[in-house]
Amino acid sequence: MIGQGQKVVVAMSGGVDSSAAALLLHEQGYQVVGVSMQVWDYRKNGGSHSKATCCAPADFNDARTVADYAGFPFYVFDFEEEFYEAVITPFVRAYSHGYTPNPCLDCNRKVKFSALRTRARSLGIGLVATGHYARILKEEDGTLGLYTSENNAKDQSYFLYAMTQEDLLCTMFPIGEMEKADVRSYLRSHGLDVANKAESQDICFVSSRVSEFVETEAKRMKSIGDLSGGSIVSVDGAKLGTHDGVHQFTVGQRKGLGIAHSEPLYVVNIDPQTRDVTVGPRSALEKRQFSVGQVNWISGRAPENSFDAFVKLRYRQDGVLCRVEPLADGSRAMVTFQGSDSSAVSPGQAAVFFSNSKRGLRVLGGGIIER
């Protein structure tokens, strides 16, 4: 058997992908320990179980059913504290400072590939597997590379750009090569109902509107930021109206501004200090250049020189060809669109750099878009 009895913790959400990942490893001869991460208590925090897309008892039961079917142990790990500190708090803080954060990035980096691994180690288990669609391949120089899934429609490497060499060494993506339809039919061939489960889409811990969630949680946290209202101003400085808080806006947003205007208006800037939300025409949104911070390089070494890369600014987006210039020892980078290209960029979201190789698209690294 491939696994040769090696122990591996599989993060199981109760969804299709992680269920298949766990079952595959089990069938390959690994000693699988299934783990669901309780990150948010809907009973305690309000919100509805029925709308919840994670941590609902039904999800744990789906995961447990797969474990019972295969006969490997399954546990629920309590990560509520870690999650609150590593994901919820920065999420609320970012919104209150006019950013549009992506909590899945923090969850992967600080919870799944950090806190979970620490807990796995305390059980004497060094390997952690997840149901992500991405590939980890060994490079010629001995380092590990992160590659997109060949199953492009589902590729999730965008969310994994912050992985380090150590992370990659301890991580497996068992279904990283597979097509979604094959993942479902694999589960179906085992007679498991989870095969037909719907995809989860939204932010797992938000069961209401994001702005409501931010308001509720900000009340609980002290000195988190300012959720007070401010003015909506046009790019030429004219005051067009008022708003109830910068956390209700995202750069690039068009709907819900509550302003009648002759041409479509977009949010082009959010100033957390003055609480001004600047709106303007689509053309005002387009940027040719932007900087990213908190940059991670998958290889563990920042490139010395500028390089060309496909840059993704959102999860479901094709990469756009850019010039990437590492700054400040590689902890930041300047990204410039090639030729006359430009795009809307949302501060707080991740920009992830990819390059073509004969093994497919390879993730070089990425960072958080700065204002």
Binding site: I2, G3, Q4, G5, Q6, K7, L24, L25, Q28, Q31, V33, S36, Q38, P57, F60, R64, P73, F74, Y75, V76, F77, D78, R119, R121, S122, L123, G124, I125, G126, L127, R135, I136, L137, K138, L144, L169, M172, P174, I175, G176, E177, M178, E179, D182, Y186
Partner: protein, 428 residues
């Protein structure tokens, strides 16, 4: 199809190239070592025999039926009822009314709701310890307007005077468990009853005795005579089948008159709990009680010796109190002598329980809720322990089937797992 094949090949690559530094743990696991009696004891042979006899004789008719099959089922239930009451009280068995339920939780719910009904006009306030099982604490929260919770001293014992001081003119219920499930510590229920009488308390004193019965020498008839209105007991905690328990009402305190059935229908259980009886469960509970009447004293001492041996072995492996704190380990006159609650500073109890399970040792941390998440124990909070300290605890509780060989093996595994977790090292 093709993609699976590819996937297997990929994993082949992955396994051969990346992970060879992790050695394979070939811990051939034999049967699990069961040290979680307070969650539920293993089925006793005498219960199995009673069950098999009932099944073999096809006596599982409806005890309410007039015909012979029904009568035989009823006879089984009646015999069990007598066995249970004789076990619960040597001299006052006739003073106890046994109302069979589906288990300890139903018994707790039924006694709380049953006595609130009769106090309907003043059902606004209840007093309880701060460390009741959720079957009591959640039911009180849902049924009363106000609940006053009284904490414990550092040894986990509630103060009867504080309970009495918490009474208000509209207090309808006082709930004090007999022994705590986490610490195993006996609570001064008789003393509470005395204080309540002194204060002229007119409501009901209810006692969740699920953890005590079968593991602690107590006479419920005597407690009822002291003024306890009702007790809840559970079958599987003492080695009978799951799905059976009872409300035990004190006839002397006239509590039967005030107890309202929470479930109505065919009028079974003297009208106190309608619904066709769980005949199979009930006969196992009767059989266990019948056996324990003569064997319990010896069993408690034997289990206490094993528990003490386990404690000494762990103490020897972790001589430093900074590494290993014994929070509770009652002697048999003070509570459950099968229970050992310890704290391992720096180690999460919930992780330790999982790590031990992977090595074949069953223990527990806090109370496992049905989601599988292990929550922090209210008993430790009530003793003034910080949430962090409470999180660092693990409970071992031995049942009737525990053996010296198991205990020795378990202590070795615990020491090994704890050392490994302390070092944060990968297993080899």
């Amino acid at each position: 199809m093709s993609s699976y094949v590819f996937c297997y090949q990929m994993s082949d690559f992955v396994a051969s190239n990346r992970f060879m530094n992790h050695t394979i743990s070939a811990s051939a696991k034999s049967r699990a070592i069961y040290l979680d009696a307070n969650a539920g004891a293993r089925l006793r042979p005498v219960a199995r025999v009673a069950l098999e006899q009932m099944l073999h004789a096809q006596d599982c008719g409806n005890p309410s039926s007039i015909h012979s099959v029904g009568r035989r089922a009823r006879a089984g239930v009646s015999k069990a009822r007598a066995e249970v009451s004789h076990f619960l009280s040597a001299d006052h068995s006739r003073d106890l009314e046994i109302v069979f339920t589906s288990g300890g939780t139903e018994a707790c719910n039924a006694m709380i709701k049953g006595f609130l009904h009769s106090n309907a006009q003043k059902s606004s306030h209840a007093v309880s310890t701060a460390f009741e099982h959720p079957a009591v604490s959640d039911t009180l929260l849902a049924s009363c307007n106000r609940v006053t919770k009284v904490g414990a001293n550092k040894d986990g014992v509630v103060c009867p005077e504080e309970i009495a001081n918490a009474l208000t003119p509209d207090t309808a219920l006082v709930c004090v468990m007999l022994v705590n499930n986490e610490t195993g510590v006996l609570q001064p229920v008789a003393e509470v009853a005395r204080r309540l009488r002194e204060r002229g308390f007119g409501g009901a004193l209810l006692c969740d005795a699920t953890q005590a019965i079968g593991k602690f020498k107590v006479d419920l008839g005597e407690l009822a005579a002291c003024g306890v209105s009702a007790f809840a007991i559970s079958g599987h905690k003492m080695g009978a089948l799951q799905g059976v328990g009872a409300v035990v009402l004190g006839r002397q305190s006239d509590s039967c008159r005030f107890f309202e059935p929470s479930q109505r229908g065919g009028g079974q259980e003297s009208g106190f709990r309608s619904g066709t009886e769980n005949v199979l469960g009930i006969v196992t509970l009767g059989a266990v009680c019948q056996e324990l009447k003569t064997t319990m004293s010896e069993e408690i001492s034997r289990v206490e010796n094993l528990r003490d041996m386990f404690r000494s072995k762990l103490r020897a492996d972790f001589p430093d109190h900074e590494d290993f704190e014994i929070i509770s380990s009652p002697e048999q006159s003070r509570g459950l002598s099968n229970t050992l609650l310890v704290r391992l500073p720096g180690i999460r109890g919930d992780d330790l329980v999982i790590a031990l399970d992977l090595e074949g040792v069953c223990a527990s941390h806090g109370s496992a809720c049905s989601s599988g998440k292990q929550s922090v124990s209210p008993a430790l909070e009530a003793m003034g322990r910080s949430p962090k300290e409470a999180r660092e605890t693990v409970r071992f509780s031995l049942d009737w089937a525990a053996t010296e060989e198991e205990i020795m093996r378990a202590s070795g595994i615990v020491s090994e797992v704890v050392s490994r977790m302390k070092q944060g090292q990968l297993s080899s």
